[in-house]
Symmetry: C3
Subunit: 428 residues, 3 copies
């Protein structure tokens, strides 16, 4: 990737700057220029929502970034390429979503645009989890551009055409990101790695780094599900419901993690991921009157579904469907996202919302999965183009292909300065 | 713990869902149903206090969780069981505190309930520190249920009956949690470990992980001490006083850490813990007019007391009182909590508050310690029941008893793929 | 440092308490005592700005602290001495800045004082990066006192006399801190280490710890640049511009990191640092009407400048100028700070601000660099005094000089309990 990666990155940034010059303005400009616009400014609510934006921001960069550092030799890429994808994605997401919603006007940057820009990157980061360790930075830049375009289209369809409820984006972000990623992973399947790869495992401290990601996602999920909710009752309920759904999910995730292991031990993969499924699954109906105990039921189910997915479905996907999902995003985002979509239909049926219908909710779920699969398949085919720097099977899950890696990986004998130097690894 | 742990966890979660179904409603429901209630909604202040709630949330899950990761082989349990305790505790705390304060009405969930729910888990997490490495997850689930019941009772007594001031909960959370934990640790004392355990030590990076916990606790402590303070002057003072108390505490903690070590070196145990004592000790009088320099004096004293506790008291407790306190919670929460209680009495005597009396403050301190000791002794006896999965002496401070642990703990020779494989540990 | 360090630390804390007793009061006191004061209280905005303060707080303690943990044996000092400096600095900064701005009145503590106190510590923490690993804790306490005095003087000059714009402090904090640190590092130059030091390198996990710092700095930088901005349009723009500047900066930093390495690989030093240059460089004109695409251009340039600095300038500084800059603060804060100062001049020239002039902006830039260099040279000479505990060349970049370090640094063979014990390092 000697020159391809830098030139593509620079080219994309120049493209973004040009697009911003053409289409983006301060929200406050609109008042100066177009006095007849009646839409009230959200400048007044900027500082009020800013803490929620920052919580979401932490989820995107620290949450997703560190959650993926569990692999023993792929921490630089996990946290580093996560940052790269998100930095590009938030610029492109501002444009892609803004164009669709601005009806030919310029895009006025307010706090909700920034939250939505962060949201649109989440979709790509979820898909990134499915192909983690098996793709190049160039491929990820391209996936970012394509996926966010599809995401913005589907999100427009769901919100503006179907007028479906999906305040925490169980369908439009989580299910979408997961099935998009699975489709890409299916196309990029590597038969040579069907028996696994020696680097595809964690070490003790990489699992602790991953817990940093888990906890920041877990703690700030109420902000994720409520950040763009209607102020007042709905936003209040989105926070409260998510808070309790996540708490309930932890209990069932721990219980079933122990239950499905022959010796009853807890598995870090489940703890790092399935504890978050409650946040995903309550997303669609987070702002509805599902009551705290209702959200706890949803969370409990999500924790169980997610653990079962990791334990039983993921191995099947690899062997039978030839889809290898590195981080198990299907179990954290796919299944719980679908659970959330279904919970939304049930909640609407039970009268927990007066703004949507069961049919529209079902259409939203179908559209999200369908668009994701189609978009993912197309993206996968494009990413297969030979000049995009995809690593060889042997080099998968290894930072040293794309990164300068410290001469010594951690504290082997040499670390003490007087140990056996024979383990010194020549710089790769 | 093949089936016991999962069944107990699932049972508790079902119990919580039933309790929530019976007793908990949205705050906004109260207006629809009971128009004659005059207590104003705090929906308006929800978003205003939400950032403070999130700060407390981070303290509970990242702060306490990572603070305890200092042990070299017990990081999964520290951060993982911390999450489990807190997730159960916040549900149970919502009920236990809510029932006492709702006077027969349904519990209306507002932002303060969520903050208080997080607070009630803090008590258990402090006690968890005293028995860290020596107990099973089942024991911790049971301790969570019992301790929060005692905590809620004492908190009601202190706040509603004595009407004492304890805005940052030096007495009701910190001293309570510490002495409760010490009482449990005393009952669970293991003579076989009186000479220590080879796993009861840190490694370099586990100490750095612990600093993540320290810093998030340190930074967000002003939010902890002010989150439920009366809006306006009192909340403002709670933030300002805590900010300066903590800063002063750092200086004395560093100074005395160096002073008590023969070669004048700093000790990570002190830096990780004693730097936080200023937040604990200023808690009771944080919202009083003690003036910034007054809070700095309190913080300075707390830093000194805490370092002395770690250096001189902890060894005595283990050898003489047969109480082994893994994290030294007595030095971080116990002594500084009592210091805070005493500072509150002095502050009230000096006229820094017009809502409490010296007698009531002293009663609150006595009640907190007394309830904690009694509750801790009872809990300890229950936890001694033989079928609760307590680890053997040999297996203490080791994640691998309850967790699937990566085949390789960190980067030993094998990590490079060409080292000496003889160190390969067979999966435990 | 057997007694020197503790006595100096205790003495400084007592000094601070006395100063606070004499000069500092609650903001709310002013109303009680001096009814004729017309300056409105900012108590009303306390909770509104408190989340931004907390973001800045996280940047100071976790951001700067962990960013410097990249060295393999210097993590305790990086995060620990960072905490010590900041805790002292925020107390002293409250006094030093307060005295200058209070015009003979008492200093009223409001939210802006707390933000400014944190800001003043940032300057020292930047300079700390230049001398990291080569100085003693005592030296850092002394540098904190001197540097903040110079900082407060320059900040007063820039803001009150020149009335220049520098809302995100590209000049007064970043350039100032960098050139101050370089001047100190120049005076403290160690010819014995001109060929480097075996400890001056990272290991795999220390680089991941550093990314915690990077990300929290990156995410919260919009708060840093807007925290003390004028409410309304200006604060809104400061947030939006910084958000997009940082995103653009990531793309160019990654591109040029790859471009300047012979094999096209990414370098963790660049990713940890140069991705932040966009936040530094947009600081001066963050609240001006530079438009989102303008801020993206500034961010893009900053990312490039910073990578070039690390790659080409830093080696030159060490060999030709005899200035060894451990963390490369010149590349992260110096060059981007100057870039920010120049961008401010251009922005004023283009009419993006109506409150400042090009001349005053240039004067502010010159004053910041000039004051920093003079202050740094004086400080360096003082720090050279022989009784301040400076480590020998051999002991540089090693925690064990000032810290009790765990018997085992990380997971060597012994970690498994059955490995080869010959690597056991006797406690230093």
């Amino acid at each position: 990737m000697r020159f391809k990666f830098p030139l593509i990155a620079i080219g994309l940034e120049i493209f973004m700057i040009v697009l911003f010059g053409l289409f983006v303005q301060y929200e406050t400009d609109q008042h100066t220029q177009q006095r007849n616009i009646t839409k009230p400014t959200d400048l007044a609510t900027f500082l009020e929502l800013y803490p929620l934006f920052q919580d979401v921001h932490v989820m995107i960069f620290v949450g997703f970034g560190f959650l993926m550092t569990f692999l023993k030799k792929y921490g630089f890429s996990s946290v580093g390429i996560n940052l790269l994808i998100a930095a590009l994605g938030l610029q492109w997401g501002t444009i892609a979503q803004g164009i669709l919603h601005s009806h030919g006007q310029k895009i006025n940057i307010g706090i909700k645009n920034m939250i939505n820009a962060d949201f649109s990157t989440a979709t790509v980061l979820i898909s990134f989890g499915a192909v983690l360790g098996k793709t190049s930075p160039i491929q990820m830049l391209i996936m970012t551009i394509i996926e966010i375009a599809f995401f913005a289209g589907n999100e427009y369809l769901v919100g503006e055409i179907f007028k479906a409820s999906d305040i925490g984006a169980s369908m439009t972000i989580h299910a979408f990101g997961a099935y998009f990623g699975l489709a890409v992973a299916g196309i990029l399947y590597r038969p040579g790695l069907r028996r696994g790869h020696e680097n595809e495992e964690s070490v003790y401290h990489s699992d602790l780094f991953a817990m940093i990601g888990t906890l920041f996602l877990w703690m700030f999920w109420p902000s994720f599900n409520s950040a763009i909710a209607e102020p007042g009752d709905k936003q209040y309920r989105a926070i409260v419901n998510t808070y309790f759904s996540l708490a309930a999910c932890v209990l069932t995730a721990y219980a079933f993690s122990s239950l499905v292991e022959p010796r009853g031990k807890l598995d870090m993969v489940h703890i790092q991921n399935a504890t978050l499924a409650g946040g995903v699954a309550v997303g669609t109906c987070a702002d509805m009157t599902i009551h705290p105990f209702g959200s706890m039921i949803i969370g409990s189910i999500a924790g169980i579904v997610s653990v079962f997915g990791y334990k039983f479905l993921s191995p099947l996907f690899t062997t039978k469907l030839r889809i290898h999902d590195t981080c198990g995003v299907h179990n954290l985002h796919g299944l719980p996202g679908v659970t959330g979509g279904l919970a939304g239909i049930v909640a609407v049926a039970m009268g927990a919302s007066n703004t949507s219908t069961m049919v529209m909710q079902a259409a939203a779920l179908g559209s999200s999965i369908g668009t994701a699969v189609v978009g993912g398949l197309i993206t996968g085919l494009i990413l297969k183009l030979p000049f995009l720097g995809q690593p060889s099977d042997q080099n998968c899950y290894d930072d040293s292909v794309y990164w300068e890696v410290p001469r010594l990986r951690e504290h082997d004998n040499h670390f003490h300065g007087h140990g056996d130097h024979s383990q010194l690894e020549p710089e790769v």
